[in-house]
């Protein structure tokens, strides 16, 4: 079923009903490192493999790029919007800088910021979601009303608002994007946790006198690995989209530093002259987001067991309602 992973636009709350049913915590998976086995199974599906390859390719360009860059990304070495040539395979940009060198240097910070923003969003969102679901009552009310309020700001607008007030600082971009993820993550994790809290093994731990913090950490968290992995992939994709978008709007590293998002905006006036100055960074961003999202979708499918073996489907046939 397709609607599994990213059935929701960035920043939107998860759709209820059918999608929620699909996102239900998966059947248990065995192994000492269930997350590794899920990632591994996902990488071995055709889609997951393709997604992972795409994403890793871009990561390679971004990480190894600065080391192999033929020119300085900020020096004016050629003509404005020069056509590609032997010395400058992707031509020149709007100031006459080498596009290839700028492409090779313009990715690593985007990646780093996206990963950091994702980490902030997942940690904050998961902590809020688990606490809201397990502690219920007043903490739940307070957390979820806060979530409602933050969700009323579109993600990009939330980031823009913060940036407009405090100035376009990089750490602020990371923090703003991370925090804007948190409410959506909190909603997903809360509903997954609610489901787990209903499981009897949580009650068993309570009857054994386990403290709430330990119950959340030892009994609930390990069962949230699959939804957390899916959320992390999803939020990473959205982080890249938003941070690149902010850079495109001019809220990124200050010039003349190279940045894929900024490059697209500053070179689009020369699309007729040297389209590669736009196409190269655009393709890299596209490959990265499509790659991460496709791999996330594969993870979600494996975790939910969509590609369940038909054998199990047949066995479910004869299980009466008492076999829940």
């Amino acid at each position: 079923m397709a609607g599994s992973a990213p059935a929701v636009p960035p920043g939107a709350p998860p759709p209820p009903a059918a999608a929620a049913a699909e996102a239900a915590p998966p059947a248990a998976r065995t192994g000492r490192h269930p997350w590794l086995s899920v990632l591994w199974s996902a990488a071995r599906t055709p889609r997951g493999g393709a997604g992972l390859t795409m994403a890793l390719l871009v990561v390679l360009v971004a990480v190894a790029g600065p080391a192999v860059s033929p020119h300085s990304p900020t020096d004016l070495v050629t003509l404005t919007f020069a056509k590609p040539s032997g010395k400058f395979p992707l031509g020149g940009d709007f100031l006459g800088r080498d596009v290839l060198s700028r492409v090779l240097n313009g990715g690593w910070l985007l990646l780093l910021m996206a990963v950091a923003a994702t980490a902030i969003g997942i940690v904050a969102g998961a902590a809020a979601g688990i606490a809201a679901a397990y502690l219920h009552g007043a903490p739940d009310g307070i957390i979820m009303r806060t979530v409602d309020v933050i969700l009323a700001f579109p993600q990009l607008v939330f980031a823009l608002l913060l940036l407009s007030l405090l100035g376009p600082k990089l750490w602020l971009i990371v923090l703003a994007v991370g925090l804007s993820h948190a409410p959506a993550v909190a909603r997903v994790i809360r509903s997954a946790t609610l489901d787990i809290t209903e499981r009897d093994y949580v009650k068993v731990a309570e009857l054994q006198g386990m403290r709430p913090v330990k119950v959340m950490a030892k009994e609930i968290l390990p069962n949230l690995i699959s939804p957390l992995m899916v959320e992390a992939g999803l939020r990473l994709t959205y982080s890249i989209v938003i941070i690149a978008g902010l850079a495109f709007l001019g809220f990124g590293q200050p010039p003349p530093t190279a940045n894929w998002g900024t490059m697209i905006n500053e070179n689009r006036i020369g699309l007729q002259l040297n389209p590669w100055a736009v196409i190269a960074p655009a393709v890299l961003i596209a490959l990265l987001t499509v790659g991460t999202n496709t791999f996330t979708d594969a993870v979600a499918r494996v975790a939910i067991g969509v590609d369940r073996r038909p054998e199990e489907a047949a066995l479910l046939d004869d299980l009466g309602p008492e076999q829940v």
Binding site: P9, L160, G245
Partner: protein
């Protein structure tokens, strides 16, 4: 269970409160409260700035005289509560103050942009919904066929593309590098509305449609498949109901409610999505207005646009919830 004859169990007496009314009023109440908190946050955010707003706006150009004038303009010389009240009542009565960037009234600046953005969002929403629902239903009916596979992979790919990349791609394809069919920018002179120059809408609408269709498609497909694999559809097959009737009469009514909520979410997404797309195409809507205002630190304009977007969010949320409820008898009618 009394006797074998007669309805075995008496149905529970209907509650006095009608669930629909109850939910709507509850949602409205929470919505108004959310909006109030949003307004308070937007307002307070300008207050917790390092230094104060006037200083932040003026930056290096600050001198005591200009600071003082700016403080008066932003009502910073009043108490915090009084300031909030002045601003909130202005918001409700349409007295929104003047732009810091060019001294014009905020409402006069934002109103035409609101209309332009509304046109963009509505046209996109309608076209996207029709395409998404149709493709989703077809893919579900042909589950695991070639159309389903191709459209699912395409949907997955497109979902993850940033909207400005889609926009740039369309510009490369249709306006600059490959073909020269459509305008690359959608500049509208003041006083001219998009419906008088519909060709300007084509690329912005196409971009947003491409971005939202996959979500609606995937939800419709998933909901339809869930319905088609349900016990009640199996039961309908086993009582000899023709296939077309199963799809239209049994599966469709049950897949509409979840899809409506996703359509609502996509309208919400559009509220944020217009920012980048309007900026790319130079389309004079509130998204572009917001980017300009943020560039200029035009605080009254930022505040107003953010509150308008939040209000839109709250209204769409309530609307889609109510419609989804109407489409679900199980939730609409108490036991």
């Amino acid at each position: 269970m009394a006797t074998a004859t007669a309805p075995a169990e008496p149905a529970a007496p209907a509650r006095n409160e009608h669930p629909l009314l109850l939910l709507t009023t509850r949602r409205l109440g929470i919505g108004v409260l959310t909006l109030f908190v949003v307004a308070a946050i937007v307002f307070l955010a300008t207050e917790v700035l390092p230094g104060n707003a006037a200083y932040a706006v003026l930056g290096r150009n600050a001198n005591p005289a200009r600071l003082h004038a700016m403080e008066r303009q932003l009502h910073l010389n009043q108490g915090l509560l009084a300031q909030f009240w002045t601003w909130l009542s202005g918001l409700l009565t349409g007295k929104l103050g003047t732009s810091l960037a060019n001294g014009q009234p905020v409402w006069g600046l934002v109103e035409p942009r609101l209309i332009n953005s509304a046109a963009l969002v509505i046209v996109t929403g309608v076209i996207g919904t029709v395409i998404g629902v149709t493709l989703g239903a077809v893919a579900a009916l042909r589950k695991d066929g070639w159309f389903d596979h191709i459209s699912s992979v395409a949907a997955l790919t497109v979902t993850s593309l940033p909207e400005f990349i889609v926009a740039i791609g369309l510009i490369i394809l249709f306006s600059t590098v490959v073909l020269h069919l459509l305008p690359a920018v959608s500049l509208l002179p003041p006083g001219v509305y998009p419906w008088s120059q519909p060709e300007l809408l084509i690329l912005p609408v196409a971009t947003l449609v491409i971005v939202i269709v996959p979500y609606i498609f995937r939800m419709m497909r998933a909901a339809m498949i869930e319905a088609l694999e349900s016990d009640y559809v199996e039961m309908a097959r086993l009582k000899g109901v023709p296939e077309w009737r199963i799809v239209l009469g049994h599966a469709l009514p049950n897949s509409i409610a979840p899809t409506i909520q996703v359509i609502g979410l996509n309208f919400l997404y559009l509220a944020g999505g217009v920012v980048l797309v309007e900026y790319v195409f130079n389309y004079p809507g509130i998204g572009q207005g917001l980017v300009f205002a943020v560039d200029n630190r035009d605080i009254p304009v930022i505040q107003f646009i953010v509150v308008v977007l939040a209000a839109f969010y709250v209204c769409v949320n309530i609307g889609s919830d109510v419609i989804a409820l109407l489409a679900t008898p199980r939730r609409r009618i108490p036991r």
